[in-house]
């Protein structure tokens, strides 16, 4: 620093107070819906009807859980397992194959490399939803609806993750190490698995979190592909809570909602620092 920081004029106290008020207001705004949801999950229908807004938890958590289970449609455990299979499967596919594709783009010089990278860039912005009709028809024809594979395997081709991995790999992967492994007689595929993958771990972890969360939250494709109730994912389960059978069971609905995002709460509060850093990293990829 060339200039003295202490000379920087600070904002006046009232302005600073105003800033804090706005920040706290927005923090409350972000948290309040979740707090109301969690508190109401512990209250019964009568209490919610009397005062829908309350900060005081009650003691009806278990009875709400019983109501939720008695209706036979909302199965948080089954939804959790299904979502877990799809999200883990697609995350592993996305992270591993995106790193492999990025490695192909960074470490080797090949004739179609430029053209291939342009293709990746061209499909960076195309969301899967616009292709859904053809996707559904194709899967229906080969009897793959109600199967998890159509929701897992497409992750092998994740253009945005390939782009990110390439940007990360260029400055952080010293090609000399790859070269010396080659001299030692290491096979190319082994070099990738045993040298490149460990070096890319930080990027793979952050991208993995985002891929997992995105897959977990996905509604459109699972909704059109999975018609069998046993195959429903968490977000599809949520749409069941809107049904008529829960119309008067306020507490149970709030509890159901809480259960669907409980895993995300846990993940977020354990990893929020890395997640925020990951978002920031994604923003400066340009």
């Amino acid at each position: 620093m060339k200039y003295n920081l202490s000379k920087v004029k600070r904002v006046s106290k009232p302005v600073l107070a105003l800033m804090y008020i706005v920040c706290i207001f927005f923090a409350i705004l972000s948290l309040l819906p979740f707090i109301v949801m969690i508190v109401n999950a512990t209250r019964n229908t009568y209490q919610v009807q009397q005062h829908a807004f309350s900060f005081v938890p009650s003691k009806y958590l278990l009875s709400n859980l019983k109501i939720l289970n008695s209706k036979q449609t909302f199965h948080p455990v089954r939804g959790f397992i299904n979502s877990m299979i799809i999200s883990s499967g697609s995350t592993i596919c996305a992270v591993y194959f995106s790193t492999l594709t990025a490695y192909a783009l960074v470490a080797y010089t090949w004739k179609l490399r430029g053209a291939f990278f342009s293709l990746v860039l061209a499909f960076l912005m195309i969301p899967m939803q616009v292709t859904s009709i053809g996707f559904y028809q194709m899967m229906y024809r080969i009897h793959m609806t109600n199967n998890f594979l159509p929701l897992i395997l497409p992750a092998i081709a994740s253009p945005s993750m390939v782009f990110f991995m390439r940007q990360y790999m260029i400055p952080s992967l010293p090609l000399e190490i790859v070269e010396s492994a080659r001299v030692d007689g290491c096979h190319e595929f082994r070099i990738f698995n045993q040298i490149v993958i460990p070096m890319m771990k930080p990027a793979m972890a952050t991208q993995g979190i985002f891929s997992f969360v995105a897959s977990w939250n996905q509604l459109f494709l699972p909704q059109i592909l999975l018609t069998n109730k046993k195959r429903y994912t968490m977000p599809i389960m949520v749409s069941l809570l809107k049904g008529d059978i829960y119309k008067t069971e306020y507490g149970a609905v709030y509890l159901g909602l809480t259960l669907t995002i409980l895993p995300l709460f846990v993940v977020y509060f354990l990893l929020s620092k890395y997640i925020i850093a990951g978002v920031a990293l994604g923003g400066v990829k340009g």
């Binding site: 302005v15 709030y254 909602l257």
Partner: protein, 319 residues
């Protein structure tokens, strides 16, 4: 010898991109082409797979473009996106200015960032159903709160008012995304050369001057990038309008994706019409993507130009 060596390694470049290419061809390209083809056919009816091309090829596209519900859906999508995006970018910029300014050290920034970003990570479907519960009529936390503080005398039915339905969907969208936009912008500001800010400080710029004359112009590319990616995300809005009021009341929150879903997977299963609508959306999105591309190119070009000018200047000096 050297040449042969690079040739043998280039093989692996192809080899390692095979999984991506295969998955891409099966799960991206084929469905896109298939969707495009379905748009020109008579494919409809539950679990139908056989189709014939129409004698009038663009009939589905015409039907979609002239249909009042598609137009309403497109208008709603744009209106809801704009109502959400303007406050989103304004507050994201405001927080960026506060959190990066050397003049105010706001404590607990880490906490605020974590809390502001949190709604973004939560399942949109859950958030939509949660807000429906929060704004329900007659008993809901929102109505309870508003009547308790005497803002309204009796509970308000948020679900039948077209305006409030749109505003709530836009608000949910704002609420889920302002934290994300803020973090992207903060990382953009941290990427600006600090010497520029030092120079501004020495020249006696006010905070407002520094922000509007230096920070925002330096963030131009990131702002454009955020705007266009947010726009593409907005054009694909589905979970919230679908689960909040399923496009209602009276199509007030019907977005293009909800329209596509309703055409194809509800009612009379008009796959052909839904496919045509998807293709129209794809064209709109492609135009936006090209805009992003041009933006990157311009940026790269200006970088090259700057470097060239810099080199030329250096040369002049040495000569």
């Amino acid at each position: 010898m050297e040449k042969r060596k690079t040739f043998s390694y280039s093989r692996y470049g192809y080899l390692f991109s095979i999984p991506f290419v295969v998955a891409f061809l099966i799960f991206w390209l084929y469905p896109i082409l298939y969707t495009a083809i379905i748009g020109f056919t008579d494919l409809k009816g539950i679990s139908a797979t056989k189709f014939h091309f129409l004698s009038e090829p663009f009939k589905n596209f015409k039907t979609v473009l002239t249909s009042s519900s598609f137009r309403t859906a497109l208008r709603n999508t744009v209106v809801i996106w704009i109502i959400n995006f303007i406050p989103q970018i304004v507050f994201a910029l405001l927080f960026t200015a506060w959190f990066t300014s050397p003049r105010c050290k706001i404590r607990g920034q880490g906490f605020f960032k974590i809390v502001f970003y949190m709604p973004n990570i939560m399942t949109a479907a859950t958030v939509a159903v949660l807000f429906q519960a929060l704004f329900a009529y007659p008993t809901s936390p929102m109505n309870d709160l508003l009547t308790k503080f005497g803002i309204i005398a009796s509970p308000f039915n948020f679900e039948v008012s077209k305006t409030s339905a749109k505003l709530i969907v836009a608000f949910i969208q704002f609420w889920m995304w302002y934290g994300y936009t803020m973090i992207i912008l903060i990382s953009g500001v941290l990427g600006i050369n600090p010497e520029i800010f030092e120079a501004a400080e020495i020249d006696g710029c006010t905070s407002a001057q520094t922000f509007f004359r230096i920070t925002i112009p330096c963030l131009r590319t990131i702002l454009l990038y955020t705007t266009i990616t947010a726009m593409i995300g907005g054009l694909n809005m589905y979970d919230i309008p679908r689960l909040y009021l399923n496009g209602g009341p009276d199509n007030a929150t019907l977005t293009t994706n909800v329209y596509i879903y309703n055409q194809a997977f509800a009612g009379s299963y008009l796959y052909n019409r839904a496919a045509a609508a998807s293709m129209i959306m794809l064209i709109i999105i492609a135009v936006c993507s090209i805009a992003v591309f041009q933006m990157y190119k311009e940026k790269d070009q200006s970088k090259v130009d700057r470097k060239r000018r810099h080199l030329a200047a250096k040369k002049e000096v040495t000569e």
